[in-house]
Protein backbone atom coordinates (compact mmCIF):
# COMPACT_ATOMS: atom_id res chain seq x y z
CA UNK A 1 0.00 0.00 0.00
CA UNK A 2 1.17 3.44 -0.82
CA UNK A 3 0.19 6.36 1.27
CA UNK A 4 -0.44 9.52 -0.65
CA UNK A 5 -0.97 12.66 1.22
CA UNK A 6 -3.46 14.79 -0.60
CA UNK A 7 -3.86 18.47 -0.15
CA UNK A 8 -7.29 19.00 -1.52
CA UNK A 9 -7.26 22.63 -0.61
CA UNK A 10 -4.02 23.70 -2.12
CA UNK A 11 -4.67 25.25 -5.47
CA UNK A 12 -1.10 25.57 -6.57
CA UNK A 13 -0.94 22.50 -8.74
CA UNK A 14 -2.61 23.91 -11.78
CA UNK A 15 -1.25 27.22 -12.79
CA UNK A 16 -2.66 29.44 -15.45
CA UNK A 17 -6.15 28.77 -14.29
CA UNK A 18 -5.85 30.87 -11.20
CA UNK A 19 -8.32 33.33 -12.59
CA UNK A 20 -10.96 30.67 -12.38
CA UNK A 21 -10.50 29.72 -8.81
CA UNK A 22 -9.41 32.79 -7.08
CA UNK A 23 -10.67 32.75 -3.58
CA UNK A 24 -12.52 35.92 -2.67
CA UNK A 25 -9.77 36.58 -0.13
CA UNK A 26 -6.85 35.73 -2.39
CA UNK A 27 -5.79 39.35 -2.29
CA UNK A 28 -5.04 39.00 1.39
CA UNK A 29 -2.33 36.37 1.36
CA UNK A 30 -2.08 35.77 5.08
CA UNK A 31 -5.79 35.37 5.43
CA UNK A 32 -6.21 33.14 2.42
CA UNK A 33 -3.35 30.88 3.46
CA UNK A 34 -4.91 30.65 6.88
CA UNK A 35 -8.11 29.51 5.27
CA UNK A 36 -6.33 26.95 3.10
CA UNK A 37 -4.43 25.61 6.08
CA UNK A 38 -7.61 24.96 7.97
CA UNK A 39 -8.25 22.16 5.54
CA UNK A 40 -5.17 20.36 6.70
CA UNK A 41 -6.05 20.66 10.34
CA UNK A 42 -9.65 19.58 9.98
CA UNK A 43 -9.94 17.44 6.87
CA UNK A 44 -13.51 17.18 5.79
CA UNK A 45 -14.66 20.12 7.83
CA UNK A 46 -12.01 21.95 5.96
CA UNK A 47 -12.29 25.67 6.29
CA UNK A 48 -15.89 25.51 5.07
CA UNK A 49 -14.55 25.32 1.56
CA UNK A 50 -15.66 22.72 -0.93
CA UNK A 51 -13.08 20.98 -3.04
CA UNK A 52 -13.70 21.13 -6.76
CA UNK A 53 -12.59 19.37 -9.92
CA UNK A 54 -13.12 21.02 -13.29
CA UNK A 55 -13.25 19.21 -16.60
CA UNK A 56 -14.00 20.26 -20.08
CA UNK A 57 -15.12 18.60 -23.25
CA UNK A 58 -15.86 20.27 -26.53
CA UNK A 59 -19.38 21.30 -25.53
CA UNK A 60 -19.21 22.12 -21.84
CA UNK A 61 -17.27 22.72 -18.67
CA UNK A 62 -18.05 20.48 -15.71
CA UNK A 63 -17.39 21.41 -12.11
CA UNK A 64 -17.65 18.57 -9.57
CA UNK A 65 -17.92 19.10 -5.84
CA UNK A 66 -17.77 16.50 -3.09
CA UNK A 67 -20.80 16.87 -0.83
CA UNK A 68 -21.36 13.58 1.05
CA UNK A 69 -24.48 13.53 3.18
CA UNK A 70 -25.98 16.63 1.62
CA UNK A 71 -29.56 16.45 0.39
CA UNK A 72 -30.67 17.91 -2.89
CA UNK A 73 -32.83 20.53 -1.20
CA UNK A 74 -29.89 21.72 0.89
CA UNK A 75 -27.80 22.76 -2.09
CA UNK A 76 -27.96 26.31 -3.39
CA UNK A 77 -26.34 27.38 -6.61
CA UNK A 78 -26.17 31.05 -7.48
CA UNK A 79 -24.74 32.92 -10.41
CA UNK A 80 -23.91 36.52 -9.77
CA UNK A 81 -21.68 38.74 -11.90
CA UNK A 82 -19.89 35.83 -13.49
CA UNK A 83 -19.26 34.17 -10.15
CA UNK A 84 -20.87 30.80 -9.55
CA UNK A 85 -21.40 30.15 -5.84
CA UNK A 86 -22.28 26.75 -4.47
CA UNK A 87 -23.50 26.51 -0.89
CA UNK A 88 -24.31 23.20 0.72
CA UNK A 89 -25.84 22.72 4.11
CA UNK A 90 -24.77 19.49 5.68
CA UNK A 91 -27.01 18.10 8.37
CA UNK A 92 -25.92 15.21 10.50
CA UNK A 93 -27.98 13.30 12.98
CA UNK A 94 -26.17 11.33 15.62
CA UNK A 95 -28.80 9.84 17.84
CA UNK A 96 -30.45 12.78 19.56
CA UNK A 97 -27.75 15.20 18.57
CA UNK A 98 -28.14 17.06 15.36
CA UNK A 99 -25.49 19.21 13.82
CA UNK A 100 -25.27 21.18 10.64
CA UNK A 101 -22.61 23.18 8.95
CA UNK A 102 -22.42 24.90 5.64
CA UNK A 103 -19.83 24.61 2.93
CA UNK A 104 -19.39 27.13 0.15
CA UNK A 105 -17.22 27.61 -2.86
CA UNK A 106 -17.15 30.21 -5.58
CA UNK A 107 -15.83 29.64 -9.05
CA UNK A 108 -15.61 32.33 -11.68
CA UNK A 109 -17.36 31.38 -14.85
CA UNK A 110 -15.19 31.85 -17.93
CA UNK A 111 -16.33 33.87 -20.90
CA UNK A 112 -18.22 31.99 -23.53
CA UNK A 113 -20.47 30.04 -21.20
CA UNK A 114 -24.14 30.01 -21.92
CA UNK A 115 -25.21 31.08 -18.45
CA UNK A 116 -28.88 30.44 -19.21
CA UNK A 117 -28.23 26.74 -19.76
CA UNK A 118 -26.24 25.92 -16.63
CA UNK A 119 -27.53 22.74 -15.02
CA UNK A 120 -26.62 20.66 -11.99
CA UNK A 121 -27.12 17.16 -10.67
CA UNK A 122 -26.41 15.40 -7.40
CA UNK A 123 -25.39 11.76 -7.44
CA UNK A 124 -23.65 9.58 -4.84
CA UNK A 125 -22.55 12.63 -2.90
CA UNK A 126 -21.01 14.36 -5.91
CA UNK A 127 -22.54 17.55 -7.21
CA UNK A 128 -21.83 18.18 -10.87
CA UNK A 129 -22.53 21.56 -12.42
CA UNK A 130 -22.59 21.61 -16.21
CA UNK A 131 -21.70 24.89 -17.88
CA UNK A 132 -22.42 24.61 -21.59
CA UNK A 133 -20.22 26.60 -23.92
CA UNK A 134 -21.82 29.04 -26.27
CA UNK A 135 -21.90 28.12 -29.92
CA UNK A 136 -19.32 30.66 -30.91
CA UNK A 137 -16.70 29.48 -28.47
CA UNK A 138 -16.76 25.93 -29.76
CA UNK A 139 -13.98 25.06 -32.16
CA UNK A 140 -15.12 25.47 -35.70
CA UNK A 141 -13.43 24.20 -38.79
CA UNK A 142 -13.28 26.44 -41.81
CA UNK A 143 -13.27 24.74 -45.13
CA UNK A 144 -11.04 25.99 -47.87
CA UNK A 145 -12.60 26.74 -51.17
Amino acid sequence: MKIIRTHPFSINRVSGLDEWFRHPLAGLPSLSSFISNLGEVFPGVAGDKLAVDVHEDKDSYFASFEVPGVKKEDVKIELNNGLLTISAEKRQKDGEKESSFSLTRSVSVPDGVNTEAISAKLEDGILTVTLPKQERSKPRSITLN
Binding site: M1, K2, I3, I4, T6, P8, F9, I11, R13, V14, L17, W20, F21, P43, G44, A51, V52, D53, V54, H55, E56, D57, Y61, F62, S64, E66, V67, P68, G69, V70, K71, Q92, D94, G95, L122, D124, G125, I126
Partner: protein, 126 residues
Amino acid sequence: MNTTCSPSTCTPATSGVTESLRKPIYNVNGNADAYEVRVELPGVPKSSVKLDIEENILTVRGERSSTVPEGMKALHRELSPLSYLLRLRLNTPVNEDQMTAKLEDGVLTLRLPLKEVAKPRQIPVL
Protein backbone atom coordinates in the same frame (compact mmCIF):
# COMPACT_ATOMS: atom_id res chain seq x y z
CA MET B 1 -16.14 -1.14 19.68
CA ASN B 2 -12.67 0.05 19.04
CA THR B 3 -13.03 3.02 16.76
CA THR B 4 -9.41 3.94 16.58
CA CYS B 5 -7.39 1.36 14.79
CA SER B 6 -3.75 0.64 15.24
CA PRO B 7 -1.53 0.58 12.15
CA SER B 8 -1.68 -3.22 12.07
CA THR B 9 -5.46 -3.23 11.73
CA CYS B 10 -5.64 -0.37 9.27
CA THR B 11 -3.16 -1.65 6.77
CA PRO B 12 -4.85 -3.68 4.09
CA ALA B 13 -3.45 -7.05 3.20
CA THR B 14 -1.38 -6.59 0.11
CA SER B 15 -1.71 -9.33 -2.42
CA GLY B 16 1.18 -8.50 -4.67
CA VAL B 17 -0.53 -5.57 -6.31
CA THR B 18 0.19 -2.09 -5.10
CA GLU B 19 -2.94 -0.12 -4.64
CA SER B 20 -3.49 3.35 -3.32
CA LEU B 21 -6.34 3.63 -0.90
CA ARG B 22 -7.41 6.14 1.63
CA LYS B 23 -9.32 6.04 4.84
CA PRO B 24 -12.74 7.66 4.63
CA ILE B 25 -14.15 10.02 7.20
CA TYR B 26 -16.38 8.07 9.57
CA ASN B 27 -17.99 8.13 12.96
CA VAL B 28 -19.45 5.55 15.29
CA ASN B 29 -22.40 5.93 17.59
CA GLY B 30 -23.92 3.33 19.79
CA ASN B 31 -26.62 2.56 22.27
CA ALA B 32 -27.56 -0.53 24.23
CA ASP B 33 -28.96 -2.32 21.18
CA ALA B 34 -26.77 -1.47 18.25
CA TYR B 35 -23.87 0.43 16.90
CA GLU B 36 -24.28 2.81 14.03
CA VAL B 37 -21.34 3.52 11.77
CA ARG B 38 -21.48 6.37 9.25
CA VAL B 39 -18.88 6.38 6.55
CA GLU B 40 -18.54 9.14 3.96
CA LEU B 41 -17.98 7.64 0.53
CA PRO B 42 -18.65 10.39 -2.00
CA GLY B 43 -18.39 9.25 -5.58
CA VAL B 44 -18.95 5.59 -4.81
CA PRO B 45 -22.00 3.99 -6.42
CA LYS B 46 -23.97 1.39 -4.47
CA SER B 47 -22.65 -1.44 -6.58
CA SER B 48 -19.06 -0.60 -5.69
CA VAL B 49 -19.37 -0.89 -1.93
CA LYS B 50 -18.08 -4.10 -0.38
CA LEU B 51 -18.65 -4.99 3.22
CA ASP B 52 -17.52 -7.91 5.26
CA ILE B 53 -16.88 -9.02 8.80
CA GLU B 54 -14.19 -11.54 9.40
CA GLU B 55 -12.73 -12.38 12.77
CA ASN B 56 -14.25 -9.32 14.36
CA ILE B 57 -12.85 -6.98 11.75
CA LEU B 58 -15.36 -4.99 9.79
CA THR B 59 -14.07 -4.02 6.38
CA VAL B 60 -15.68 -1.36 4.21
CA ARG B 61 -14.33 -0.89 0.72
CA GLY B 62 -15.60 1.66 -1.73
CA GLU B 63 -14.33 1.71 -5.26
CA ARG B 64 -14.45 5.16 -6.68
CA SER B 65 -14.84 5.36 -10.38
CA SER B 66 -12.73 7.97 -12.05
CA THR B 67 -14.18 11.42 -11.84
CA VAL B 68 -12.91 12.17 -15.32
CA PRO B 69 -15.22 10.65 -17.89
CA GLU B 70 -13.68 9.47 -21.13
CA GLY B 71 -12.74 12.14 -23.59
CA MET B 72 -12.68 14.97 -21.09
CA LYS B 73 -9.82 17.20 -20.26
CA ALA B 74 -9.10 17.94 -16.61
CA LEU B 75 -8.58 21.64 -16.04
CA HIS B 76 -8.32 21.72 -12.29
CA ARG B 77 -8.08 18.92 -9.74
CA GLU B 78 -8.63 18.99 -6.04
CA LEU B 79 -10.61 15.83 -5.43
CA SER B 80 -8.76 12.60 -4.85
CA PRO B 81 -9.65 9.77 -7.20
CA LEU B 82 -8.48 7.13 -4.71
CA SER B 83 -10.77 4.39 -3.49
CA TYR B 84 -11.68 4.01 0.14
CA LEU B 85 -10.82 1.35 2.69
CA LEU B 86 -11.88 1.31 6.31
CA ARG B 87 -11.20 -1.46 8.79
CA LEU B 88 -12.64 -1.43 12.25
CA ARG B 89 -12.03 -3.98 14.94
CA LEU B 90 -15.17 -4.93 16.81
CA ASN B 91 -14.66 -5.75 20.44
CA THR B 92 -18.30 -6.62 21.05
CA PRO B 93 -20.17 -9.59 19.61
CA VAL B 94 -22.34 -8.37 16.76
CA ASN B 95 -25.29 -10.11 15.20
CA GLU B 96 -23.99 -10.32 11.67
CA ASP B 97 -27.19 -11.72 10.19
CA GLN B 98 -29.14 -8.66 11.20
CA MET B 99 -26.60 -6.14 10.09
CA THR B 100 -28.05 -3.54 7.75
CA ALA B 101 -26.37 -1.11 5.40
CA LYS B 102 -27.72 1.86 3.51
CA LEU B 103 -26.00 4.14 1.05
CA GLU B 104 -27.56 7.55 0.63
CA ASP B 105 -26.09 10.72 -0.84
CA GLY B 106 -22.59 9.29 -0.65
CA VAL B 107 -22.88 8.30 3.00
CA LEU B 108 -22.93 4.67 4.06
CA THR B 109 -24.85 3.97 7.27
CA LEU B 110 -24.27 0.63 8.91
CA ARG B 111 -26.31 -0.71 11.76
CA LEU B 112 -24.68 -3.44 13.76
CA PRO B 113 -27.08 -5.00 16.27
CA LEU B 114 -25.38 -6.37 19.36
CA LYS B 115 -25.74 -10.00 20.30
CA GLU B 116 -27.96 -10.70 23.28
CA VAL B 117 -24.99 -11.64 25.44
CA ALA B 118 -23.45 -8.23 24.91
CA LYS B 119 -26.52 -6.26 25.91
CA PRO B 120 -26.78 -4.80 29.37
CA ARG B 121 -28.85 -6.94 31.62
CA GLN B 122 -30.86 -6.15 34.69
CA ILE B 123 -30.36 -8.45 37.60
CA PRO B 124 -33.34 -8.48 39.90
CA VAL B 125 -32.69 -8.42 43.59
CA LEU B 126 -34.60 -11.16 45.26
